[in-house]
Structures are given as C-alpha cells and as structure tokens.
C-alpha cells in the first residue's frame, strides 16, 4: 500500500439486482483531505459513498466485489464486521436525521453503546467536546435536554456531525450534507468541514460545483457508474482532461 493513503479502492463493482451501479472503480483518498465526488444524478456517487462504510448491505439484493483497503485491511474481508467499519467511518446524510431523543442523548447514545464512555462526567465532557468541535456548543449548551428535532435544519445537521465525531471515527462521509440547508447554514457547515479536515479524512458527495470548488482538495467525477476523472480540485475545475468532465463542470449536461 502506498504510504500517505487513507482509503484505497481497488476494482470496486456493485450490482443492485441486475443494475450494474458501480463499474471497476479505482481511487485513493489521502489523509486529512477533503475529496469531493461530483456527477449527474443517478451516476452512482451516493452508492459509492455508502459502499465505503458498507451501508449498501442494508439494501436487499446488492452484490459488491473488489476491495476497499483501510489501514492495510480490506473492509469487505470475511473477518471484518460491518458494525465495526461503521464505527470507524462516520456518515452524515442529506436530510438532517437526529435521533428522536434529546440533544445530549443524540451525541452520547452511540459512544455509550460502544463502551467509549460511561454515563457521568466523562460522558458530559465527550458531549461538550463533540458539540464544540461541530461548532454547535454555544447555541445549545443551555438546552441539552431539549429534543434534537427542536433545532433548526442547519443546527440539526451540525448535531449529526457532532454525533458522528463522538464515536471518534477516522473518516467522515458526507452525502450532500447541505442540500437541504440555506446559504448561511451551508457556509457554517463548510467552514466546519475545513476545520474538521485537520483530524479526519472527509469524503463528500455534492451537487453543488461551487461547494466542491470551495472546500475540496481533490475531486472525483463520476458518470453512469464509472469514475471518469480524479485529480486535484484546481486541475479538475480549470483544466480537465476528459471531455465529459469539462461538459459537466461547465454546465453543458447534468
């Protein structure tokens, strides 16, 4: 394995029944970077993202082949438990989906179940740390017992990020995390991502080209289940090699 690689995708294929959704994907993600995955709707970018933390297995009739190597281990090996994979690789979804519990419990629920922390002062600290890390602490510190759903959309999304951070993952996957949010909330999430980059490797699926250009270090362009082009974001946006990439980025299709 090449040094300075966090995630290595080798010949990843995925089928939904007869639908070949991902075709021989090869990719590498570097640590402490943000990689944006862009492409038209239905190109398989969300499917690809979900295959990194094995969330596709929750859908019936999916078949995956190929390797995803993280820390010298293929996560699709038989001796790897998908629950352990998901603990190491957090995920933030398109729609903010806090648990139907209090703000405090939203953050503390999973760490307690994982045995990372126990109820009490230790847990309080973890909750505070996670909420500070996701830039939500100041807004909620006086109402930690309120339900998570009582927050605004942008706050809920940051709560979901705090919840993800609380189980101390290595990698955070984000599936269009700002598409349901207004520009101000989006800006907050984006600056939060740049902040989080110091500690985590972030992979983000986005429909928003400006967002990809603003936050990401690397960009991968997907179309019809194939990875068309991958490179530094600046290169992809200014000087793409492939015609299809150029057409998509300049808005001629997609």
């Amino acid at each position: 394995m090449v040094k300075n690689t966090k995630v290595q995708i080798k010949d990843l294929n995925l089928w939904y029944k007869d639908n070949h959704a991902l075709k021989s994907i090869n990719l590498e993600f570097k640590p402490n970077t943000i990689t944006a995955i862009v492409g038209p709707s239905g190109c398989g970018k969300s499917t690809f993202l979900r295959s990194i933390n094995r969330m596709n297995e929750l859908i019936d009739n999916t078949i995956t082949s190929g390797k995803i190597i993280i820390g010298n281990k293929n996560i699709y090996d038989n001796d790897v438990d998908e629950v352990a994979v998901r603990k190491k690789i957090g995920m933030v979804f398109q729609q903010p989906n806090p648990f139907p519990k209090s703000i405090y419990d939203n953050v503390s629920y999973a760490p307690i179940k994982h045995g990372i922390t126990t109820k009490g002062i230790e847990c309080d600290n973890l909750v505070e740390h996670s909420l500070k890390r996701s830039a939500l602490w100041d807004e909620v510190k006086n109402k930690l017992r309120d339900p998570g759903t009582s927050l605004s959309g942008g706050q809920q999304q940051r709560l979901c990020i705090a919840r993800t951070i609380a189980v101390s993952p290595d990698i955070i996957l984000m599936d269009e995390p700002t598409s349901a949010l207004d520009p101000i909330s989006t800006e907050k999430i984006e600056s939060l991502m740049l902040e989080l980059k110091k500690d985590y490797t972030i992979i983000i699926v986005t429909h928003n080209m400006q967002q990809a250009a603003r936050v990401s270090d690397y960009t991968a362009f997907f179309d019809q289940g194939e990875m068309i082009e991958f490179g530094k974001t600046d290169t992809i946006f200014i000087n793409p090699k492939e015609k299809r990439t150029e057409d998509y980025i300049t808005g001629r299709f997609g």
């Binding site: 989906n97 999973a110 979901c160």
Partner: protein, 389 residues
C-alpha cells in the same frame, strides 16, 4: 357593473357550485344519519338500563333462630312472604354460619324485595296479585318499601332469581380473559411484526405470510372458537369454560390485528432514523429497541388496545368453548369456569323474566363504558407520545 362587463363572470359556475353544495349536503346528512342511529341506540339502552340502578328493598324483622336455619322462610313475618326475595331467604343460614353471634336475635333491617315487587314499584308489568299490589302500595306509603341503590348488581354473580343477579362474576371473568389475551397476543404480535418489518427480506415467502396474516384478520370469529376448542380443550386438555382457554382463543383472534397495526407503526418510522443508527455503528437490536420502537410505540399501543377492545366485545368464539355457562360465583383463577360480559348479556337477553330486561341493558352500558374507556386510552396514548416530524 353589468354581468357582461365582469371579466370573472362564468355562466357555468352557478351550476357547479350548486353541485358542490348538494354534495356537501349528502355527506353531511350521512353523518347525521349514523349519529342518529348511535344516539337512538345509546338513549334507548340508557333508558332501559336506568331503572337497574335501583332495586326495591323492604324494611322487616329478620329472626335468626335454629328453626330459620333449617327453613329460612320462618325468619320473616308470614305476611311478607311474597314480598321478600326468595334468594335472600336462602342466604339466611349462610349469614348465621358466617356470623354465629346473630343466632337467637331479631334484627330489623332492609332486605332485598322480590323482583315482582321491584317491577311493580318501577311501573313495569308485574305478576303480583291485586291484593299484594294493594299491600305493597300501603308499605310504600309507610316507607317500609323503598327503591335503593342496587349494590347487588355489582357485588353478585349470575342468578336465576332476577333481583339477585349481578355482573361481578362476568366482570372478573372478562378481566381474567383479557389479561390472558394480552399476555399472549401482545408480545407475540409485536415480535412477529418486528421480525417481518425489520429482519425478513421482502420475498415470496414473506409475501405469502403477509397475505395469510391479512386473511386471518378477516376470518369469522366463531371459527376461532372451533380452533380453540380443537387445540386448547381437545388436544391440550385445558379446562373447559375457563378464562385460560377463552383468553388464548381471543389471543389467536387479536394476533393478526396487533401484527398488522404494529407493522404499520414500524413502517411509519422514517428510514432515516434507522440509517442514522447504523451510520454510527449501532447493531440491529440497538437501532430497533433504541430508536425505532420508541417512535412506533404509540401506534403499536393504539392497535393493541383496539384489538383488546374487539376481544372484549367478542362472544361467538367464547360460546363454542363454553364460556356461556351459568356462573354464580366469581372465578378465582384462570382455570375456573368463567363467563364474560357480552356472554352475560346474551344469557340475560334470553331470560323469560321481565326483570332481566333492565339487567341486560345495564350490563350493555357497563360493557360500552369499558369500551369507551379503552378507546379513550388509545387516543390519549397516541396524542401523548406522538413525535412530530
């Protein structure tokens, strides 16, 4: 402004609006129609049941002696012999046995009057002889006969003597039966729903199971009685007429209702909640018990209570397994012979004595009150635990 100048004038609109109005009237009158039926039913039963609240009592000397132990008729004055309830007289030896200090005393007390006296006082048809009627009128004038609150109705079991009949044993039978029903139907139903909704894959096998559960919900209830008779009584040898067999039979009947409503409640939980749980590395059981079930809980409870209410009113399957029996004494365990409220209503409705009419209506009112109470609890739970999304 003239019609021709109005840019919004549309000739056809008047007709179309008239149609809307007529349609609204139809829907509204349907509502009124069903409400009128319901109201008629409640008022009719209520009027019939109201007299059962009171029962005629007569103020007489009761002589407790060795003679009255042997033949209780002599315990009271001969002139009252057609006035005082036979069932009460029969109880006198029991009273003495329970409380020996009564022996050799004479106590002046209010005792239960005969049902014919009771019916006469309430202005209903009575078989009393004319001279007895005159005697009763006289007693009434002297306040020796009075209508008093009918404690007997709530403290006694069934009896062939109308004034002595009550709903206590059928109430206890109903409670025991429903406890057995819920203890079996609720956990099995909810667990089945969880398996089908959260674990099983959507394939031919689960589709066949689903169709059959829906079929089960539509099976005539009397067939469940035959099933209960065959399985629980014939094969397992459980005691006939018992709350155990009745409860299990009703559980079979309630099961599909609980499964279907619990599945609907589980399906109503947004998938994003499950994904959120899996994405932070929770296991299936942690996601289901920690996040999905609490959200589905109001729906599951509502469905279960409605299933319970249906089981409460069910009579047909219980007739088959013998819970229609004459039960004067309250059952003390789920193995004792018991009867239930709707079966008691059925029994009383078939009795020849007039005095049973008001008892029947009163038992119906009690049954309806419990049903309304259960449904109110269902609505309350749904409102209280409903999570807004």
């Amino acid at each position: 402004m003239k019609k021709s100048e109005n840019p919004f004038y549309d000739l056809s609109l008047k007709k179309r609006h008239a149609k809307t109005k007529r349609f609204k009237l139809f829907t509204y009158s349907s509502l009124l129609f069903s409400l009128a039926f319901l109201l008629f039913f409640i008022v009719d039963i209520g009027i019939k049941a109201f007299p059962a609240l009171n029962q005629a009592y007569v103020y007489v000397d009761v002589t407790y002696s060795e003679k009255s132990m042997r033949s209780p008729r002599v315990a009271i004055d001969k002139k009252y012999k057609r006035i005082v309830s036979r069932a009460y007289l029969r109880e006198i030896p029991k009273h003495i046995k329970q409380n020996p200090s009564l022996l050799y005393t004479t106590v002046k007390k209010w005792v239960l009057a005969d049902d014919q006296v009771d019916q006469y006082l309430k202005g209903h048809y009575s078989k009393l002889k004319p001279k007895d009627k005159i005697f009763v009128d006289k007693l009434k004038k002297n306040k020796i006969i009075q209508l008093k609150f009918n404690k007997t109705f709530f403290s006694n079991g069934d009896s062939k003597v109308p004034e002595f009949a009550g709903i206590l044993s059928s109430m206890i039978g109903t409670i025991l039966t429903l406890i057995v029903t819920m203890l079996f139907a609720f956990p099995i139903g909810v667990m089945t729903a969880i398996y089908l909704e959260e674990f099983s894959k959507d394939n031919l096998k689960t589709q066949i199971i689903e169709i059959n559960i829906n079929n089960l919900a539509a099976i005539p209830s009397i067939l469940f009685g035959l099933l209960g008779l065959a399985i629980f009584i014939n094969s397992f040898g459980m005691p006939r007429s018992s709350a155990l067999v009745g409860g299990l039979t009703l559980a079979l009947m309630t099961l599909p209702i609980i499964i279907v409503s619990s599945r609907a409640a589980l399906r109503g939980v947004p998938n994003s909640v499950r994904q959120a749980g899996f994405a932070v590395g929770l296991t299936k059981v942690q996601v289901v018990t920690g996040h999905v079930l609490p959200l589905a809980f109001p729906g599951i409870m509502t469905g279960s209570i409605i299933g319970l209410a249906q089981a409460l009113g069910e009579t047909a399957p219980l007739i088959i397994i013998g819970m229609i029996a004459f039960i004067p004494d309250s059952p003390t365990s789920i193995l004792d012979a018991a009867t239930v409220l709707p079966a008691q209503v059925f029994t009383w409705a078939g009795m020849p004595e007039r005095a049973y009419i008001e008892k029947t209506a009163a038992a119906i009112m009690v049954l309806l009150s419990i049903l309304i109470l259960l449904n109110s609890i269902a609505i309350y739970l749904r409102k209280k635990y409903e999570v807004k999304w």
